[in-house]
Amino acid sequence: MKRNYGFAYAAPQALWLTVFFAAPILIIIVYSFLKKGLYGGVEPQFSLEAYSALANPTLLTVAFRTLWVSAAATFLTILIALPCGYSIARAKNQALRLFLVIVPFWTNFLVRIYAWIAILGNEGFLNHALRFLGFRAEGYQFLYNQGAVILVLVYMYLPYAILPLFSTIDKFDFSLLEAARDLGASRMQSYLRVMLPNIKPGIFTAVLFTFIPIFGAYAVPLLIGGKDSYMLGNVIADQVTKTRNWPLASSISMTVTLITAILVFLFALRKPKEQKLVRDQEALSPSASGGAA
């Protein structure tokens, strides 16, 4: 006789996720539709106030800035992680190099942010070094701007991009690059036309692993950024702790979650569609090229 143990096996995870994932999200959803309490908390009364408050221009500015900073940081991270993952995949001492990528995780996140402050600060290592080399004595303002935030975000999330990129590049058949070169492609063409399409899944994963946490970043813009680099994570924290508008904090959180979910969804959908597109282009190509010429 065959028994179905599936439910029994799934129960612990189901319970765990319900208590620690679904329940808090549900609380946030519910709070976002309630009236704001006078000294924080909520009044048990339905209201759409928190959502209508989203249209606030300051908030929209922060939202667009968050999108821009996340996109820029993700782009830079992938740009650096690609050659890095490539070189690890091609190296003989893979294990050692992967180990070195992971080493920063041993140090606490906040401690590493303070380390960056020590490097970039007005009396930091970098300014000392520049002064020593004869640059201006009063030093440069590296910290507390958007550039510094992007720099530190890239540093923080680089390992999350390197690891998935390494694992797909490691599986990539490098003889394909030789074949491309043999068939007339330049080095760059062989990377762009043969390697890139074949490591796309790894790039998708790396983008998700970096974009999502950066989109919700809090500590880095708080400690490294200035007034011009406030991100949604900071606004949410302020609404909870300072302004004490919990429904607004909840509605912003929901919006961030929703935007992220939609982006992930679009990413996941992109792949099969694109292949179809190539074929359609194929069918149309003679006339298309005629027009271009």
Binding site: D173, S175, L176, E178, A179, A180, R181, D182, L183, G184, A185, S186, R187, Q189, R193, V194, P197, N198, V278, R279, E282, S285, P286, A288, S289, G290, A293
Partner: protein
């Protein structure tokens, strides 16, 4: 004649402390089907990669049609490669794989379509143009790789063990197709293989390689009938080897006192002197096996018993234990209706007779 001639002179290549090629020289004629044959690790693939431009030699020169190609990257050399693993682009359809070189060259789409289908027809794959490589069988992938390598109309096609991943039947078939394609396109083929049967059946010339050196260059007949060394004799087909000392020499006829088989006559033009220690060989199919003793002038006769008959359909391979205790291999083609040769079975007493002229001296130490 289409195609280019390729000249490799004095080329050496090392990987770390391993010397893959040691002062190798080969010169390949326009339109030739030229095989590089040798066991794995002999340097044949390295030589091919040097010609293709994937590696640079440590020393020596490589010219195509007289022009030095060293320093030119693979995309600037007028030769294309069929890889052992096919190296088809998994993200592209069969059509796009074959079209890849044309797209790189920005050939107009209409022309691409025409050229790709022309080449897919050459390898009989027109019907599979829309498939992805993962949907193809091994033989089909091989054909795509060939079509893709030919579409740039290279003057030299480099083939790196192209059939090694196919099963035996398909391999035979593809080999004949390759030969037909070679006849049709008429360009130079340089074919790397470890399979002597493949090399013998299609090559115009073969270079036998071992341990980074070219041991012998010649037509399949020359390589098989007149191996230049013991290694070549052993590597190509099967060979019975005799070592011994020359005791008499009259013209080209030598009397050799062999180790284990007594005095044997060896008729070979090779310059040897009385007292030289030589290795001579005879091919198994050149030995007549019979239950009666049959001899003649300059015919060697040995006596022994059948140690092991190995039946393989069209022929039987007999391993014979000679009176001295040493083993010899003999092939006997199975008779047709007109020949009444009695069966020879296990433990039968037999006579082996072979002509001194069929013996070849492969090594000589004075």
């Amino acid at each position: 004649m289409k195609g280019s001639d390729v000249a490799v002179s004095n080329v050496s290549k090392s990987f770390g402390s391993f010397a893959a090629l040691k002062e190798v020289s080969v010169s390949i004629n326009k339109g030739e089907f030229y095989s590089l044959l040798g066991p794995s690790g002999c340097g044949k693939t390295t030589l091919l990669r040097l010609i293709a431009g994937f590696e640079d030699p440590d020393q020596g020169q490589i010219t195509i049609d007289g022009a030095d190609v060293l320093g030119l990257p693979p995309d600037k050399r007028h030769c294309n490669t069929v890889f052992q693993s096919y190296a088809l682009f998994p993200h592209l359809s069969v059509f796009e794989n074959v079209a890849f070189p044309l797209r790189i060259r920005k050939v107009p789409s209409r022309l691409i379509k025409e050229l790709v289908f022309k080449h897919l027809e050459l390898v009989q794959l027109e019907a599979h143009a829309d498939k992805k490589p993962s949907q193809l069988s091994g033989g089909q992938k091989q054909r795509v790789a060939i079509a893709r390598a030919l579409i740039n109309e290279p003057s030299v096609l480099l083939l790196d063990e192209p059939l090694s991943a196919l099963d035996a039947k398909l391999r035979q078939h593809m080999l004949m197709e390759l030969d037909a394609i070679h006849d049709k396109v008429g360009i130079t083929f340089i074919y790397v293989t470890h399979d002597q049967q493949e090399a013998l059946s299609v090559s115009d010339r073969i270079a036998v390689m071992n341990a980074g050196k070219v041991l012998q260059i010649g037509s399949p007949q020359q390589i098989y009938e007149n191996p230049a060394s013991e290694f070549v004799a052993r590597f190509i087909g099967e060979a019975n080897l005799f070592t011994g000392v020359v005791t008499r020499r009259e013209g080209s006829l030598n009397l050799v006192d062999t180790d284990g088989f007594g005095p044997l006559l060896v008729d070979d033009e090779t310059e040897v002197a009385v007292g030289d220690r030589i290795v001579a060989t005879i091919r198994p199919e050149k030995i007549r096996i019979s239950t009666d003793r049959l001899g003649g002038p300059s015919i060697n006769v040995l006596h022994g018993i059948v140690h092991e008959p190995v039946y393989s359909g069209f022929q039987t391979k007999y391993i014979i234990r000679a009176d001295s205790g040493a083993l010899l291999t003999v092939f006997r083609q199975h008779a047709n209706w007109s020949e009444g040769i009695p069966d020879i079975e296990w433990k039968d007493e037999v006579y082996l007779s072979f002509s001194a002229r069929d013996m070849v001296i492969v090594e000589r130490n004075s």
